[in-house]
């Protein structure tokens, strides 16, 4: 039972094979790198199973074999296959919000949809609280260096 539960939780992390389509002709590579050896050339429209992602690369199982393709060359969903199902988050919350009687119950959690935006009243207390969480530039720079992030100069693209 315990190992079954463990598997259940690990499954999404390992990531299930996800049907995807190659949207432009692309090279299937042995490793997730531009200079890696090619496995095969995948034509536009190839149906693959996406297995895992690594930065700009996705490992896929293609008819021609397994390897890595550029992430931007892939779109999820088989050709024309709409995905069924719902993450269920909002239904869950809606049930909590309305209860079986259909009247509003207090859960402290509300969804965020256009009706709520239209009817929103100012909440200055939350605004003040938010200000209290703000970081100044120096603190943020310290946080960045702890994560070994270094600023680099990158130009905006020409418009």
């Amino acid at each position: 039972m315990r190992s079954f539960l463990l598997l259940f939780f690990l499954f999404p992390v390992i990531s299930a094979a996800e049907p995807a389509t190659v949207i432009r002709a692309t090279e299937l590579k042995r490793e997730p790198a531009t200079d890696a050896a090619p496995v095969a050339q995948l034509p536009e429209g190839t149906a693959v199973d996406a297995l895992e992602r690594k930065s700009g690369w996705t490992r896929v199982k293609a008819p021609a074999g397994e390897g890595w393709v550029k992430m931007l060359a892939l779109r999820y969903g088989g050709p024309g296959a709409a995905k069924q199902g719902d993450s269920g988050v909002t239904q869950l919350f809606n049930v909590a919000r309305t209860g079986s009687s259909g009247t509003q119950v207090t859960t402290g959690v509300r969804g965020l949809d256009d009706k709520q935006l239209a009817n929103a009243q100012p909440n200055p207390g939350e605004l003040a609280k938010m200000k209290g969480f703000a970081a100044d530039r120096t603190a943020a720079a310290g946080f960045a260096s702890k994560g070994k992030l270094s600023a680099v100069k990158v130009d905006y693209p020409a418009q």
Partner: protein, 289 residues
């Protein structure tokens, strides 16, 4: 209040008067209005479009504060203080790499299961807990926050609010609403500004925020693929998912945004080996669940 902002209502009032007088030209002739300085009026009409473009920074911040308070009325902050501080550190570090590093930047995680993020004029950024929990690295969070930061840098919402105010309230009331924080017109302006998050921006603004957001995240030292990774996660979800309804209504489809980001492939690849910080993200966000 800057001199420019004090001048706006006067200029708009004069221009409105000028417009009324121009439309009522025959009446003007009939009643022979004395001492009408046509040259001055023409100048004022020229100034009105110029003045309407110049909401100064303190005004932008004040409008943003009012809109942010409304958004927090729609959904409160998530209660986890550690997660809130973490998101503020990531966001402020990103904002420090931009042309507006010293705005009063603040970042808030909204307690909402939907997947969305909002940029408010003057440097306030919101992300929903639903979207945050869909992510798996700090680079992904950085990608989304950088997209929102660009909306603020380029004043996308501010310009839309201003345009909407001019169209719906008229020049004079719009000027009053932008200047006077305690007026009925101001309430209308702020309501309009809040509802704008249910209507969305121009598609061009969203795609610009994607392109430049990639650059801001790369400047801050993150794997530049953070934003495309989130877009791909969204694209892999069922488009009918109720948690995506508002985001899909107000943004181009993820597949279209990914197509447009193909133009940034060189930048994305050049900065793809920078840190993703999955471990820190897991500790700071997932531990908060």
């Amino acid at each position: 209040m800057s001199r420019a902002m004090r001048i706006v209502p006067a200029v708009i009032a004069t221009a409105t008067l000028a417009a009324v007088l121009l439309m009522a030209a025959p009446a003007q002739a009939q009643f022979r209005l004395p001492n009408l300085d046509v040259n001055r009026l023409v100048d004022s009409v020229k100034n009105v479009s110029k003045a309407a473009k110049e909401i100064d920074e303190p005004e932008e911040i004040a409008i943003g504060r009012d809109v942010a308070a409304r958004l927090l009325g729609a959904a409160p902050l998530a209660s986890d203080a550690r997660m809130q501080r973490y998101v503020n550190n990531v966001g402020r570090w990103l904002a420090s790499q931009t042309e507006r590093p010293d705005l009063p930047w603040q970042f808030g995680v909204l307690e909402a299961p939907e997947l969305n993020a909002f940029a408010v004029p003057g440097g306030t950024i919101f992300i929903t807990r639903g979207l945050l929990e869909k992510m798996s690295s700090e680079a992904e969070l950085a990608g989304v926050l950088a997209h929102e930061i660009v909306h603020v840098l380029r004043k996308h919402h501010l310009k839309a609010i201003q345009k909407g105010a001019l169209a719906s309230l008229g020049g004079e009331a719009a000027a009053l609403a932008l200047k006077n924080t305690r007026s009925d017109a101001r309430d209308k302006l702020v309501s309009f500004g809040t509802e704008m998050y249910a209507r969305g921006l121009d598609k061009g603004d969203e795609l610009e925020a994607d392109r430049l957001g990639v650059v801001v995240a790369a400047r801050a030292g993150y794997d530049a693929y953070g934003l495309p990774t989130v877009l791909q996660s969204l694209q892999a979800m069922n488009a009918q998912d109720s948690g995506l309804a508002l985001m899909f209504k107000t943004h181009p489809a993820p597949a279209e945004r990914l197509d447009a980001l193909h133009a940034m492939q060189a930048t994305l690849d050049r900065y793809s080996s920078q840190p993703q910080l999955t471990g820190r993200f897991a500790t700071e966000v997932r531990a908060a669940r």
